[in-house]
């Protein structure tokens, strides 16, 4: 029974958590907004007063802005396509009855638990390195010239690393979705004369559409802000400067907090647009 007294007691008891959460979110947000309207150069005179919308204009008119957007989209889209396509295939594979299923499933999740910084370093030094890397060794074994992955194929390298990290997530969500499919539907389709491919296309894939949208939403939001992998491998060189990395450079390397904060506000707006857009798709899917 929720009486008036118990409701207000509940509010009182929830208050610390809510206040903490709000503070955690609001303080940095307000600070970012505040700094974005200031000319604030820590090593060149400190806080020099209001700048109006100068920072916002400078951020988008800078020659680095559009390439950064391009780099972000390249990495996000590349990783999304790879994780979803391979995720569906891996989920189908893991759904098959096989010996050692439990262990294999645990192994599949493993990459998700590796810290981004660590996986960036491991990939750069152990796989992609043109002298000691595994890929270089394999290339030499076949008598080919090792590829300078980080220098010549920076986007492919980054997409590879990020996809490797996020594939387990996609696979797990899609695997549980496949397991929730009614087996009788597949048997009915088999009786109806649908080949394995048509069963996948007409029955399994539509069933997975909701799970795929969820993966798409969550991954996009996280992938928009990847940073450690870039910092550890290319450090923003070779055109791999994403929006997040550009903001980091503006603040720490150029020591221009005002300009970086303006970029941060753009990133917040962008992430929210994506979130609202994708929430609508998910909402539509959930209605069915």
């Amino acid at each position: 029974m929720a009486t008036k007294a118990s409701r207000s007691a509940a509010r009182l008891m929830m208050a610390p958590a809510v206040i903490l959460l709000l503070g955690w979110m609001l303080v940095p947000l307000v600070m970012t907004l505040w700094f974005s309207f200031r000319t604030y150069l820590p090593l060149r005179g400190g806080d020099q007063g209001f700048a109006g919308f100068d920072n916002y204009v400078r951020f988008v008119t800078s020659s680095a802005f559009w390439p950064a957007i391009g780099a972000t989209l390249t990495i996000v889209l590349g990783a999304l396509i790879i994780t979803i396509v391979l995720g569906v295939l891996l989920a189908l594979l893991l759904d098959q009855p096989m010996w050692g299923q439990g262990i294999v499933r645990i192994l599949v999740i493993a990459p998700f638990f590796v810290m981004p910084t660590v996986s960036g370093l491991v990939w750069k030094n152990m796989f992609l390195d043109s002298v000691n890397g595994l890929f270089a060794q394999v290339a030499r074994m076949f008598g080919a010239t090792p590829v300078e992955w980080i220098i010549d194929q920076p986007f492919a390298s980054l997409i590879l690393i990020v996809s490797w990290q996020w594939l387990p997530f996609a696979t797990l969500i899609l695997l549980t979705a496949i397991q929730s499919l009614d087996r009788e539907q597949l048997e009915a389709a088999e009786m109806d004369g649908a080949t394995a491919w048509k069963r996948f296309w007409h029955i399994i894939l539509p069933h997975l559409s909701r799970a795929i949208t969820v993966v798409l939403l969550i991954e996009t939001i996280f992938l928009l802000s990847i940073f450690a992998e870039i910092k550890m491998t290319t450090a923003g060189a070779f055109g791999t400067k994403t929006l997040t990395y550009l903001i980091y450079q503006r603040v720490l390397e150029s020591q221009n907090i005002g300009l970086g904060s303006a970029g941060g506000v753009y990133a917040i707006i962008l992430a929210n647009i994506v979130a609202i857009f994708l929430m609508r798709i998910v909402g539509k899917n959930l209605d069915r």
């Binding site: 539907q185 088999e190 109806d192 069915r288």
Partner: protein, 332 residues
């Protein structure tokens, strides 16, 4: 055409022999019901015929050709599943047309057959809805529609009515029977409900632990059950079994009398005390404690007003007494 022959068909899952060996002939146009308690292998047998499970040994012939190794789609059979197994993301129209689309029929022919099936099953006004927007009975009809359009040589039903409520079950039962009358196609129907078996079947196959106990028309099974299992399974309420002295007096191990074949008579040979009396209006079911004979169920007319504790005498109809030997086989 839809003649199906099973020759010593066996099925094992590892060490478990679900079906130790079955021979069965199903004639063209017959309505055959597989009935038995849960876990008796009736669904497995149906899935073997459908091709959804592989046989461990034996031969399945459909219309005289060996179909044992054929994939399900090549056997020309259509199946209606217990969960209906409709495709939730497709409209009713697309669900029904799915097998036709898979068979590569042109659009006009697809539309013609879907419209025809929908009119038979009263689904015409629901064609553009999704399965989620339909009631249980309507979903059942869509599942049947999806089976009809393929014009199969036989229909397989796997407990299709078990998810429906009692009233709907009776009307769907009649609809399926009528469908069989108009299509004249072989139908194999799996159920654990002996009432469904009795009301719908041309031929009932009673299964127990993967073995066929008896095959015959509903009235054959009712009038002359081959053994104790069939005698106890067919008929509602259950047949009374009497062992001991009374059975020995009549020269058998177990005596069987159906509740409807015991009359209440003032000079009957059996004496008992009424326990529970269930007044259904049309009938009255009496549980009678008959001493050494055990508890007997007696079906009396609705006019009987006996109640708990009344002493009565009972007279079994002499030509309706079934006698079984020590192995449970009927003595004739």
């Amino acid at each position: 055409m839809g003649k199906i022959t099973l020759k010593s068909v066996r099925k094992s899952f590892g060490e478990t022999h679900v079906i130790p060996g079955i021979d069965l002939d199903i004639n063209d146009g017959e309505f055959v019901v597989f009935v038995g308690p849960s876990g008796c292998g009736k669904s497995t047998l149906l899935r073997l015929i459908a091709g959804l499970e592989d046989t461990s040994a034996g031969v399945i012939e459909i219309d005289g050709t060996d179909a044992t190794a054929l994939p399900p789609a090549k056997r020309g059979l259509a199946m209606v599943f217990q969960s209906y197994a409709l495709y939730p993301h497709m409209t009713v129209r697309k669900n029904i047309a799915f097998p036709l689309k898979m068979a590569g029929l042109d659009q006009a022919e697809q539309d013609r057959r879907v419209t025809h099936a929908a009119s038979i099953l009263n689904l015409s006004s629901y064609l553009d809805r999704r399965p989620g927007q339909l009631s249980g009975g309507q979903r059942q009809r869509v599942a049947i529609g999806r089976a009809i359009v393929r014009e199969p040589s036989a229909f397989l039903f796997d407990e299709p009515l078990s998810n429906l409520d009692a009233a709907l079950r009776v009307s769907m039962r009649q609809e399926i029977s009528e469908l069989h009358q108009s299509l004249k196609t072989t139908m194999i129907y799996v159920t654990h409900d002996q009432v469904e078996a009795m009301t719908m079947a041309d031929k009932i196959v009673v299964l127990n632990a993967g073995r066929i106990e008896q095959v015959g028309s509903p009235l054959d099974l009712y009038r002359s059950p081959a053994n104790l299992f069939v005698a106890g399974f067919i008929g509602s309420p259950k047949m009374n079994f009497i062992a001991g002295a009374e059975a020995q007096r009549q020269g058998c191990a177990t005596l069987g009398v159906r509740p409807e074949h015991i009359d209440i008579a003032p000079d009957g040979p059996w004496q008992g005390t009424v326990g529970l009396a269930e007044h259904l209006g049309s009938d009255t079911f009496l549980k009678v404690d008959a001493g050494a004979l055990g508890t007997l169920t007696v079906r009396a007319s609705g006019e009987v007003t006996l109640s708990h504790g009344d002493k009565i005498r009972l007279q079994p109809q002499p030509d309706k007494i079934h006698r079984f030997d020590t192995d449970g086989k009927a003595l004739r």
